[in-house]
């Protein structure tokens, strides 16, 4: 909403400087986003001028040469590209040296002489944009015809404009009068209401017009007025100026008056050509499903029974509160007017507007819910203006169909409640003066309460806490002290999964990985590269109806694609090791096999959101000097991070070789804790990596923390350190080439007296038979209660070798 201080000052005295007034309004909830001083920079170099002739530009089809008289006696010839330029117009003309807003950069700049396509241009015909009046640079600003040539534009249009952000609860602030009321309340002034008295010189309205509300749930009130014999033409200069100041284009006096009153009072109005309303009978009813209707923007639309329409005896003439019809529109030939002032239900107007993709000044006001008292005021005000400014004659009386009259809202609030909410206890006199200033009537009923009548224009105030807010915002939120929370701290709420995830973050960061945060969506195409088709068919990812871009259409069931994309965007400039991770939710279809209680948020309908930690490691290891060295990172670099993570979370997993979609066969392991898969680690298949434009080895892991959570041990138990000496022994075993070293190690470590077994060499080649390999372990024997003898160790080793031979066919190398 834009509001002109010039216009405002008609209803309320503005004693504060604009900056102070803006700050006061902003603090009270009516945010002033910008203060525009229309004309402040214009100076004497921008004046009202007259277009005396237009000639084609010799070198450009789109440009024309305008001859302009700016009152100095000389004719200026300027190049102009605006399509709406016409001979006879009054326009805003800038001579060289004027301050204008640059059409490209938007910044203030000084107009310089220019040669445009070979023709000298001695000035400029300005648009609203170049004048800083609005963002409209569709065409030049056309001034009222009465504007005197040579007048500085600042004298004509100079004003201070507030650009306001009006919250949706305050439809009253979408009017100059409503803002004036607010200013009056905040500054202790009195509002001067606009006059609504008019001469009802015409015959009685009865018999000349009738209204029937068939849908009283959607239309609470409908007032029709008839004004005859109007002379259509331009509206007066002052009205046009005000409309322009608030961003409305003047059209003709009738339409301008309806717009003017809407801006002034906040009630949208619609003027029908009385003679085009068949039977002079208005019916307010639901539209027919599939009913065709052409709106005044000349678009054929299809209606539904959800939409409220205004109909005459031959059919629909307007979409209630949204847009009028082409046929009943006021035209050059119109002499008699049927003026509509009605209250339509906000949510219905909003729904209809959304369905038809029409948002008008009218609908955006109705949507917010307008009081049913307002049409009576607006109708009188507009009729008065139609009579006085268009030479019309108003019928005596109005048709006012108002099936269920609105009741005045009364609110009771105790002094104690105001203090309970605000933390301050303003004196009763203060509360009463605040409320009275806002147009409420507030009666103090001892010992403890106020009984308040709410003015009709404040439908947002319904309950006691609304009154508390009114008091606070007028007194000023600054008056409320800042206090620390008191009272007992509630019992803590603990989410173990969240805590596990936060620990995962810390562990990976400490281990040397860098956290990234990527968007929660990706494309189906990317998903098909990292997940098997069967999975995507059984659990189709959730699609967004209105994604930001096609790149973010599907909620991700895996972090893999985003990790690969993030890697790809970084390998371009980092050849050394990249180790990144993300912890985020994944979104999957509920698995019918899962018990309801297994779903994190217990909502049957919602996607299963799981906490997943994924990482990707790639690039060349750094050398002594921190340069990318000759060796690429490998599976075991990645495994180190995964092991650090699991250890840090208090879990120990086995790495079991598996085949996994998108990962390289033979270089992929499933992470198992007991029998449960908690994640996967593997080299991204080179083809898959290449499809993400990663042309180097990349190792990826993904761990589902939801699956891991029940398997981590919250407690960490220390085992005693033996005071007896350990015996170390190397053990080289010849086994089949595909025997897992991990399995060997587990068996060795499960042997009595063995404390630890570490692999320190793996060999296959000339020294061993084909299909075999040698795995060397450093085995540590130790007892907690005595010093081991050679005999004991020898015995344990023999037993171990026997088990290894039995289970794995292992032979001692060189033995």
């Amino acid at each position: 909403m834009r509001v002109s201080l010039k216009w405002l000052s008609e209803y309320v005295d503005l004693r504060l400087p604009p900056e102070d007034l803006a700050a006061r309004l902003t603090m009270a909830g009516l945010a002033v986003d910008a203060i525009v001083r229309a004309g402040g920079d214009w100076g004497d170099d921008i004046r009202v001028a007259h277009v005396t002739a237009i000639d084609p530009h010799p070198n450009a089809d789109r440009l024309r040469l305008a001859s302009v008289d700016a009152g100095s006696g000389e004719t200026h010839r300027v190049v102009c590209g605006a399509p709406n330029l016409a001979v006879g117009q009054k326009i805003a003309f800038a001579t060289v040296g004027a301050q204008v807003r640059d059409g490209h950069s938007g910044k203030p700049s000084v107009l310089k002489p220019a040669v445009i396509r070979g023709v000298e241009s001695a000035g400029m015909v300005l648009s609203e944009y170049e004048l800083g009046l609005s963002d409209d640079h569709e065409g030049i600003l056309v001034l009222p015809a009465h504007a005197a040539v040579g007048t500085p534009l600042s004298a004509l249009l100079g004003d201070t404009i507030f650009e306001l952000s009006v919250t949706p609860n305050r439809a009253d602030w979408l009017s100059v009068l409503g803002i004036a009321r607010e200013i009056a309340a905040l500054t202790g002034e009195t509002v001067r209401e606009p006059s609504t008295e008019y001469a009802q010189d015409g015959p009685p309205i009865k018999g000349r017009c009738s209204v029937d509300i068939k849908a009283p749930d959607l239309c609470r009130r409908y007032i029709a007025t008839v004004i005859t014999g109007i002379k259509l033409g331009p509206s007066p200069e002052w009205m046009q100026e005000r409309l322009i100041a608030l961003g409305q284009r003047p059209i003709n006096n009738v339409v301008d008056i309806t717009n003017y009153v809407m801006l002034e009072i906040g009630q949208p109005l619609h003027a029908f050509d009385y003679d085009q309303v068949a039977g002079h009978h208005i019916t307010v009813r639901r539209g027919g499903d599939g009913e065709a209707f052409t709106t005044l923007d000349n678009v054929a639309r299809t209606l539904t029974s959800d939409m409220l329409v205004i109909a005459d005896e031959s059919g629909t003439v307007a979409l209630a509160g949204v847009i009028g019809g082409l046929e009943s529109e006021v035209t050059d030939k119109t002499v008699n007017i049927l003026l509509e002032a009605a209250t339509f239900m906000g949510s219905n107007v909003r729904r209809a507007g959304a369905a038809l993709k029409v948002r008008s000044e009218a609908s955006s006001r109705f949507e917010k819910g307008l009081p049913s008292e307002l049409p009576a005021v607006a109708s009188k005000r507009a009729t008065k203006l139609l009579v006085e400014l268009c030479g019309g004659t108003a019928a005596a009386g109005v048709v006012d169909v108002y099936p269920s009259k609105a009741r005045e809202t009364r609110v009771e609030v105790t002094r104690q409640r105001i203090a309970q909410v605000l933390g301050i206890d303003p004196p009763t006199a203060k509360v009463r003066s605040v409320l009275t200033g806002l147009g409420f009537s507030a009666r103090w009923v001892p010992p403890d309460r106020y009984v308040i009548r709410v003015p009709y224009w404040r439908p947002d105030v319904r309950i006691d806490d609304d009154i508390a807010e009114e008091v606070a915002r007028v007194i000023g939120y600054d008056e409320i002290p800042a206090l620390p929370l008191a009272g007992a701290i509630p019992a803590p709420i603990v989410q173990p999964l969240r805590e596990l995830r936060e620990r995962a973050r810390d562990v990976l960061a400490e281990a040397g990985m860098r956290e990234v945060i990527s968007y929660s969506m990706t494309t189906m195409e990317a998903l098909t590269r990292v997940l098997p088709k069967e999975y995507l068919a059984i659990y189709p990812p959730y699609r967004l109806v209105n994604p930001i871009t096609a790149d973010h259409e599907f909620l991700r069931p895996t972090l893999r694609a985003n990790l690969l994309m993030t890697l790809a965007s970084n390998v371009r400039y980092e050849k050394g090791e990249i180790a990144i991770f993300e912890t985020a939710r994944t979104y999957e279809r509920p698995d019918e096999r899962l018990p309801q209680s297994g779903r994190p948020f217990g909502e049957e309908a919602l996607p299963v959101e799981r906490e997943v930690v994924g990482g990707i490691i790639s690039g060349r290891r750094f050398d002594r000097w921190g340069r990318p060295g000759d060796e690429s990172v490998d599976f075991f670099d990645a495994k180190a991070y995964v092991e650090a993570l699991l250890r840090g979370l208090g879990a120990s997993a086995e790495f079991v070789a598996v085949q996994e979609f998108a990962l390289a066969p033979g270089r992929t392991a499933e992470l198992r804790v007991g029998d449960t898969r908690v994640g996967v680690l593997g080299q991204v298949h080179p083809d898959v990596a290449a499809s993400f434009e990663v042309e180097q080895d990349a190792f990826l892991f993904e761990i589902v923390l939801d699956d891991l959570l029940p398997l981590v041990s919250a407690q960490r138990k220390a085992s005693s350190v033996s005071r007896f000496p350990a015996v170390e022994q190397d053990l080289a075993l010849i086994v089949d080439a595909d025997t897992a070293a991990g399995a060997l190690r587990r068996m060795i470590e499960s042997t009595a007296l063995v404390r630890e077994a570490r692999v320190f060499d793996v060999y296959s080649g000339d020294q061993v038979l084909a299909g075999k390999k040698s795995v060397a372990f450093a085995v540590t024997y130790q007892s907690d209660d005595h010093t081991l003898t050679d005999d004991e160790v020898g015995k344990a080793l023999r037993k171990l070798l026997e088990r290894l031979r039995r289970e794995f066919g292992a032979e001692l190398r060189g033995g």
Binding site: G423, P484, P492, Y542, L544, V545, N570
Partner: protein, 346 residues
């Protein structure tokens, strides 16, 4: 004669000891003079051939010499050790300005880091940290927060909808704020409640230097007897002071969110100019932090909480905007572009 032998031995030993310049020389010297078959032992062996008086005299002298030589040996060893340490230090001189051996430097995303700091402040004020789902039902994101369908306030949250029908309706959306957690918390817990709810939220919005369509929000909710707007102000003030310095001020200005009454926008005085107006605060002197207010009594009642007895406050803010100020990041979009050259600065 006997004394002469001792004296000669002493002279030889002392000269030889001075000639020993390393550990090996010292060891050889020790064997030669003090060893089991060494020269001093040789002298003692010769005692048998002497008279009792000579034996006594020579015995005493050789014992004295033994002690003297041992002391000399220790002194010489220490001298040599010191010399060798000094030498090795001299030869082992390094250029301490050379770069360190590279070490993998990991780290948390700046948004995570700031979130941790924010959560720590709230935790210290007794808030529990909880999270809720990112894909929400219209009910939690809007309706239960007093934003029914076709309510004009829906324009305040441009929504991304999930293509998923339930009973002919499409009620699933990406939460546009963390406020649904208010409802979930009130459903699950009776007052007193004090929670901070971090998480991702999504808006169907065009991006620019200060707008992202995915954001990390934090919501706080406190419900108890005696909670007022003053406590909301105090809680937010404490947060801003902990993050941006003890002299920060917090300003509440009236605003409207359907789920609070009274409602407020929260701003902090600019930490660069302390409210005078500068480029950081766009000359306003204030930096917007988020929305807040007292939990609407109808919501309390709908959740079965006696609004005459209990009051509560709620506030929500975007971490990215806060992080832009906190870390001096000029463009909000940098956070999720995941350029390691930026992330590694944190």
């Amino acid at each position: 004669m006997a004394n002469e032998t001792i004296l000669r031995l002493r002279d030889d030993a002392m000269i030889a000891l001075r000639d020993a310049t390393d550990q090996r020389g010292l060891d050889e010297w020790r064997v030669e003079y003090l060893g089991r078959k060494g020269r001093l032992t040789g002298v003692l062996r010769g005692l048998a051939d002497l008279s009792i008086d000579d034996r006594k005299e020579l015995g005493a002298a050789s014992n004295a010499l033994k002690l003297e030589l041992e002391a000399a040996f220790d002194a010489r060893s220490e001298e040599l050790r010191r010399a060798s340490v000094a030498a090795s230090i001299e030869t082992g001189k390094i250029d301490v300005t050379l770069p360190s051996r590279p070490h993998r430097r990991g780290g948390l995303h700046p948004v995570t880091q700031l979130l941790r700091e924010v959560l720590e402040v709230f935790r210290s004020m007794g808030f529990s940290i909880v999270e809720g789902p990112e894909v929400e039902l219209d009910y939690y994101n809007f309706e239960a927060l007093r934003i029914p369908a076709d309510h004009p306030a829906r324009d305040m949250w441009d929504t991304m909808w999930v293509d998923h029908d339930i009973d002919g309706k499409r009620p699933m959306l990406l939460r546009t704020h963390t406020s649904p957690a208010q409802i979930r918390m009130m459903e699950q817990h009776a007052p007193p409640i004090r929670v901070a709810v971090p998480g991702r939220a999504y808006r169907f919005e065009a991006t620019d230097t200060t707008h992202e369509w995915m954001m990390t929000q934090i919501e706080i909710l406190a419900i108890d007897e005696g909670i007022t707007l003053a406590h909301l102000k105090g809680t937010l003030l404490e947060l801003m002071r902990r993050l941006f310095g003890r002299d920060r001020q917090v300003r509440l200005q009236c605003s409207y969110f359907p789920f609070v009454e009274p409602g407020a926008e929260v701003a902090m005085d600019c930490y660069v100019c302390s409210g005078k107006g500068c480029a950081t605060c766009h000359q306003s002197g204030w930096i917007e932090m988020g929305g807040a207010g007292m939990v609407h009594p109808e919501i309390l009642e709908n959740m079965g909480i006696d609004s005459k007895k209990y009051t509560g406050f709620a506030a929500g803010m975007g971490l990215e905007r806060l992080a832009m100020n906190y870390f001096g990041v000029p463009d909000i979009r940098y956070f999720y572009q995941n350029d390691l050259r930026l992330l590694q600065q944190f």
